[in-house]
């Protein structure tokens, strides 16, 4: 495959240097931990709002979701249907509680409302899952860049990891937020530019391009079937998605910390509403890139295998089989190209002529998919590795097809997405480590300089941990999967604990037992019968915690209840 032009690398390196240097510049004036972790609660709502979006948008969105758009179409956007409602609900429930309580972490509030063990358990679960996921967020683009550019995986990890750890460690949340603002602008510019270039380079009209995508089902957004096993349906997105987004934005410290930096409760609410307004349109645009790349490859020869490392390995070990498949693939692609052109011509003649051409085109597209499926199966048999190459489609398109400068801009955008997500994770991991554990259990009082040094040390420690996990991601893949799966057990359950915190009659013992019961219920539906898609796990967890927590509170008591409002103002 073609190497990237030096000018593209100049854009990438220039961007990384700019973000790191600007982050370091913002370290000036941070003398105590409220400034380091919460920017003295003085950031403007729009910067906080863009930081919230940047934290959620990782490199996986830029390369994985776009690739999913190319292979599977637009239906993934249903995943986000619950987000706007969740943001509005959070704006009137958890945001005033957490912001008004003047806490550093969401879990700190749970001790005020319940007890220390509930706080420590939820904070520990957060550190466990986010510590590992931070490594996987870094690993995902590093593995792809390593294959595309032919660099060792460790270099790719360090290229993104070192500047991120440096500016997060030295600059704290100020550096993270202002870097997020810049990263978000870059990401939107890169996405818009790529969509524009695609529309210009596809040799048919935008309407014909969408018709070709629609003919293969890639513009089918809505699935109204009610199946608990199917992840991407309208109902799972709307109901399960609402609970997932409530859990993520309401109880995950990596997000809560973003809006705790806002100047006031109304500004914190406004920051969340940026996501409520823009997330679905932005996600649709990201998926549309993939759909348009699919259409682009109707008229340009697409690679049979997108992962260059696997393609090289299988060519070396099975040259005859690959050559035979490549011949069939080239013929199938040529036939599909002719059919796509025929559709375009027929559409100009009218709808009656277009339908038979569309049916023929669909048959040709299925033939291409079949041969590619055989090639992927050959990769699996030959290498013994999974051959899913969805994450490689967009990076290869970018490097091989985009004009000079724009390719660098998009690669910088992918790195920006990874860095902004990792920076927020590191910042929140350090905050929880220092506030929920070190300052709570180890050393309650001390000079600001001491806690600032410990906070920077904790950020560096989590940064090094993330880089190690990312470097060995391939080898410890199964372990990461176990931890991520475990993470999905308690996401909804922690939401349930926060819901209990807002019910005056809920007691500490009820919250603790409810949390355990919620995780057990999610484990049951995950491993046993009935099997349900992971989007519903959060609903099961949250509802179980509230029901079990209220039952235990009613039966056992466990200390005098503390009103939510009282916990807020103490």
């Amino acid at each position: 495959m073609r190497a990237m032009h030096p000018l593209n690398w100049l854009v990438v390196v220039g961007w990384l240097a700019y973000v790191a240097i600007d982050g370091l510049r913002r370290a000036r004036g941070t003398k105590h931990i409220e400034g380091y972790f919460l920017a003295n609660r003085n950031l403007p709502w729009w910067a906080v709002g863009l930081s919230v979006m940047a934290t959620q948008l990782s490199a996986v969105t830029m390369i994985g979701t776009t690739g999913q758009g190319a292979v599977d179409g637009m239906r993934f956007v249903q995943f986000y249907f619950g987000l706007p409602l969740a943001m509005v609900i959070l704006g009137v429930t958890l945001v005033p509680f957490l912001h008004g309580a003047r806490v550093f972490t969401a879990y700190e509030y749970l001790e005020r409302r319940f007890d220390a063990k509930t706080r420590s358990l939820t904070a520990f679960l957060f550190l466990l899952s986010r510590g590992m996921s931070c490594g996987t967020i870094l690993a995902a683009p590093a593995v792809v860049f390593s294959a595309i550019f032919g660099w060792p995986l460790g270099w790719c990890v360090l290229l993104m990891g070192v500047p991120t750890v440096l500016y997060t460690m030295i600059g704290g949340v100020q550096a993270v937020t202002w870097a997020d603002v810049k990263q978000m602008v870059l990401i939107v510019v890169a996405i818009t530019a790529v969509v524009t270039v695609l529309l210009l380079r596809i040799p048919v009209s935008p309407s014909d391009a969408l018709h070709l995508a629609g003919a293969t089902g890639r513009l089918r957004v809505f699935d109204f079937s009610f199946s608990l096993e199917n992840t991407y349906t309208f109902w799972s997105g709307l109901i399960g998605g609402t609970f997932l987004m409530l859990s993520y934005f309401g109880t995950d410290q990596s997000q809560v910390q973003r809006y705790l930096t806002a100047r006031s409760v109304p500004e914190a609410r406004s920051s969340l509403l940026i996501s409520a307004y823009w997330k679905i349109p932005l996600q649709a645009l990201v998926l549309l890139i993939g759909v348009l790349v699919f259409v682009f490859y109707q008229f340009e020869a697409p690679p049979m295998l997108y992962n260059p490392v696997q393609a090289k390995t299988v060519r070396e070990r099975q040259p005859a089989a690959v050559a035979a498949l490549q011949t069939r693939y080239d013929a199938a692609v040529a036939a599909r190209r002719a059919a796509a052109n025929a559709v375009s011509v027929a559409r100009r003649a009218g709808d009656d002529a277009a339908m038979p051409a569309t049916i023929e085109y669909r048959a040709r597209d299925s033939a291409v998919t079949r041969v590619r499926g055989e090639a992927l199966a050959l990769v699996e048999r030959t290498t013994g590795e999974p051959s899913k190459d969805v994450n490689y489609i967009i990076p290869r398109f970018v490097v091989e097809q985009l004009p000079i400068g724009l390719a660098g801009l998009f690669i910088a955008g992918v790195m920006a997405a990874a860095m902004s997500a990792i920076a927020a994770e590191l910042n929140s991991l350090a905050t929880s480590t220092v506030i929920d554990f070190y300052k709570r259990w180890w050393r309650r009082e001390g000079p600001d300089a001491h806690f600032l040094a410990v906070s920077r040390g904790a950020t560096a420690m989590w940064g090094v941990f993330a880089c190690i996990v990312a470097t060995y991601a391939a080898r410890i893949g199964s372990l990461i999967e176990v931890v991520n799966r475990f993470g999905s057990f308690f996401y909804g359950s922690i939401l349930g604990v926060f819901l209990l915190a807002m019910i005056p009659r809920a007691r500490a013992m009820g919250a603790f037992v409810g949390l355990i019961a919620g995780m057990a219920a999610v484990a049951a539906v995950n491993f046993g019968a009935p099997r349900v898609s992971f989007l519903w796990h959060n609903v099961v967890g949250a509802v179980t915690v509230v029901v079990a927590g209220m039952l235990v509170s009613a039966v056992m008591g466990g200390g005098a209840p503390r009103a939510a409002a009282e916990a807020r103002v103490s």
């Binding site: 956007v77 706007p84 409602l85 018709h211 003919a215 513009l219 809505f222 509403l273 649709a284 103002v569």
Partner: protein, 49 residues
């Protein structure tokens, strides 16, 4: 926004104002989402045979 036993009566109009603001916000956010979903629906209907 703190609430305790000694809350003065002037809180009542604030709560009412908050409720009105919430209803307005909910209406605006949901309107934008409905428009986005209708556009996606039209895209699906127009181009999926």
């Amino acid at each position: 926004m703190s609430v305790d036993a000694g809350t003065p009566p002037v809180e009542a109009p604030d709560i009412e104002r908050d409720r009105r603001r919430f209803r307005r916000t909910l209406l605006k956010v949901m309107s934008v989402q409905v428009i986005a979903l209708v556009l996606l629906w039209l895209l699906q209907q127009r181009y999926t045979p």
